[in-house]
């Protein structure tokens, strides 16, 4: 009930955790816009999920962010929940920080920190309007245990996710009076394309399924959003 009619945007929505979130939100009746770079994958998923809006764009590219925001807000007419999920490892595989090229680090920062900042800023007016209308407004910046723990060889990713986590905390403190809340949850070590890129020989059976993480995440999100009018449980 809680997600029915909710206007949601998910970045990195065609693979891993993002894909699992898009499918589950769609199943629960949310109005979903998802963003990803690959046109074919976007088109295929949009065809698979009637009513969902597929948007092609790269949140790490500054010039893509406003066109993405325009399509999200245009197609949904507003926004209640933004899930900044798209992530980039930085280097093409795990690497010591000292061996990481500046450009690789910049790539991680662009995708994991600046992209979420820019997109949030572009849709903040819509989120605040949603909060004023009593629909609730929430930004989820998907984090990682690498944001907290200093894992060797995860430097670019870990540093960018740590910054994202702190960014979320500051947004949350600043925007609480506007009614716009921020979460920065760690979905756990999942069997996703990004993990396979980082640890190609990992034991996949030991990894969490992204579908499991998606359900956990939606529980957290549901608890942070107001119960829609008419769906309130009355004490008997």
């Amino acid at each position: 009930m809680r997600f029915k009619g909710m206007r949601v945007a998910v970045t990195g929505g065609t693979s891993g955790l993002g894909l699992a979130l898009v499918r589950e939100l769609h199943r629960r009746g949310a109005r979903v816009a998802f963003v990803a770079r690959g046109r074919e994958r976007v088109a295929r998923l949009a065809a698979d999920l009637p009513g969902a809006h597929g948007i092609v764009g790269d949140v790490a590219a500054k010039d893509d962010v406003y066109p993405i925001a325009l399509q999200i807000l245009g197609e949904l007419g507003g926004l209640d929940l933004l899930i900044n999920n798209a992530s980039d490892l930085g280097p093409d595989r795990l690497r010591l920080l000292a061996d990481t090229e500046c450009e690789e680090f910049e790539r991680a920062l662009a995708a994991n920190l600046l992209g979420p900042f820019r997109l949030t800023k572009a849709v903040l007016g819509a989120l605040a309007a949603s909060a004023r209308e009593g629909r609730g407004a929430l930004v989820v910046n998907v984090s990682s245990d690498a944001a907290v723990t200093a894992y060797p060889e995860w430097g670019a990713y870990g540093a960018s996710k740590a910054a994202l986590r702190h960014l979320s905390a500051i947004w949350d403190a600043e925007l609480q009076p506007e009614g716009v809340r921020f979460l920065s949850p760690d979905p756990g070590d999942m069997d996703t394309p990004l993990h396979a890129q980082a640890v190609p020989d990992a034991d996949r059976a030991a990894l969490k399924r992204p579908e499991t993480s998606a359900l956990e995440l939606l529980d957290q999100i549901g608890a942070a959003m107001p119960v829609p009018e008419g769906a309130q449980r009355r004490p008997s």
Binding site: A46, H53, G54, I55, V56, Y66, P67, I68, L70, Q71, L73, G74, E75, L76, G77, G78, L79, A122, V123, L124, G125, A126, A128, A129, R132, E133, G134, E174, L175, P177, E178
Partner: protein, 364 residues
């Protein structure tokens, strides 16, 4: 007055001319706007984000270069993006003043237009060689993508560098339904909203599809503003009704808010929430029922925006304010300075007769 030519939404030196209900003029710094509001005021802004509504392309039957400026649509529904009224220019771009832009080739119903990735057909010509209705091919999401990728913000020759979407979206921008920015809202940022909250000033938004401000053609400009769809959230309608019941002021950020609220609350009825279409002009003859004060840009006396201010203050008062702004070099246009105009008090409520302007009031 001089045109503001840089797309800075909140230049540090932006000015605010305050014209109070007794016709008195004060010069202020716009960042101090909150100081000129009262505890209990309800400030209402237009949260429309601005479409990149200028689409360059080709008139297929002749191969001529054209610029299509989307200008109006029927509703704010996300899926209702097939049909638009549009103004069409011939070749060239915003660097040429609109009044010097060539006409498009003669347009007729059925003409195909190629606009970057978008395809459209002229479905009607509305009594002027520049004014048409067009219908886009494709599904709504394809149209949104085409506009997002190919469109550019509508702009005029006074602004030299091409505008980006981040230049024209206000801090509170939400649904992208405006054809030109609701630029009075440039005065607001999150700091200002926080300061308002600290002082007990309420804030609410409506969404209004602000239309184009000028076509460069007198006959067409006389038809502006076109009918503009708007939406008033239930929370905003309630906040307005409460404020009015308690005799608190409604302060509109921009002319579009005045247009929507006076349409939704015509004849003093309570504000009807939901979608509506603002029709007609607000002029000096209009009796305002909802809005008590307006924050607006600095407009030339020939514009419909200026005419709207006449509903708040009489012609002589506005003329004196104009002189004061001219003398002090206020900047016009969307990135220029601002005015705060309080509705003239009815004569019995004035504690003193209308004063002529005093010299200390005019000092900058």
């Amino acid at each position: 007055m001089i045109a503001a030519t840089e797309p800075a939404q909140r230049p540090r030196d932006a000015r605010l001319l305050v014209l109070d209900g007794r016709g008195r003029v004060r010069h202020a710094t716009r960042s101090d706007l909150v100081d000129y509001l009262h505890a209990g005021d309800l400030v209402v802004a237009n949260d429309a984000a601005t479409l990149p509504a200028s689409l360059r392309g080709t008139h297929q039957p002749t191969g001529a270069a054209i610029e299509v400026r989307l200008a109006s649509r029927r509703s704010l529904l996300p899926s209702d993006v097939t049909e638009f009224a549009a103004i069409v220019f011939g070749g060239g771009d915003f660097h040429t003043p609109t009044e010097k832009r060539p006409l498009p080739p003669p347009l007729a119903a059925g003409d195909r237009l190629l606009l970057g990735p978008l395809r459209a057909v002229v479905t009607a010509v509305l009594g002027h060689p520049r004014l048409v209705v067009i219908a886009f091919d494709g599904r709504p999401d394809e149209i949104w993508e085409g506009v997002a990728r190919h469109g550019r913000p509508i702009q005029y020759a006074h602004m030299h560098a091409p505008l980006a979407l981040w230049d024209v979206w206000t801090a509170v921008a939400g649904p992208p339904v405006a054809f030109e920015p609701p630029s009075a809202g440039f005065a607001l940022d999150w700091q200002v909203l926080a300061a308002m909250r600290r002082r007990g000033i309420e804030f609410a938004t409506i969404t209004h599809a602000a239309g184009i401000s000028s076509t460069g053609d007198d006959a067409l400009d006389a038809r502006l503003p076109f009918d503009e769809p708007y939406n008033i959230p239930v929370a905003t309608a309630l906040a307005i009704d409460h404020a009015r019941a308690e005799h608190r002021r409604i302060v509109a950020i921009g002319t579009t808010v005045v247009r929507a609220l006076e349409h939704a609350g015509a004849n003093g009825r309570s504000i009807r929430p939901g979608p509506g279409i603002a029709t007609g002009r607000i002029t000096p003859a209009t009796m305002l029922h909802v809005v008590d004060a307006i924050v607006s840009g600095v407009h030339e006396p020939t514009t419909s925006h200026y005419q709207l201010l006449g509903a708040f203050a009489n012609g002589e008062t506005l003329r004196l304010a104009d002189e004061a702004m001219n003398a002090a070099g206020y900047r016009t246009h969307e990135f220029g300075d601002s005015v705060l105009v309080e509705r003239a008090l009815p004569v019995p409520l004035r504690k003193m007769p209308i004063e002529s302007l005093r010299s200390e009031d005019l000092r900058t």
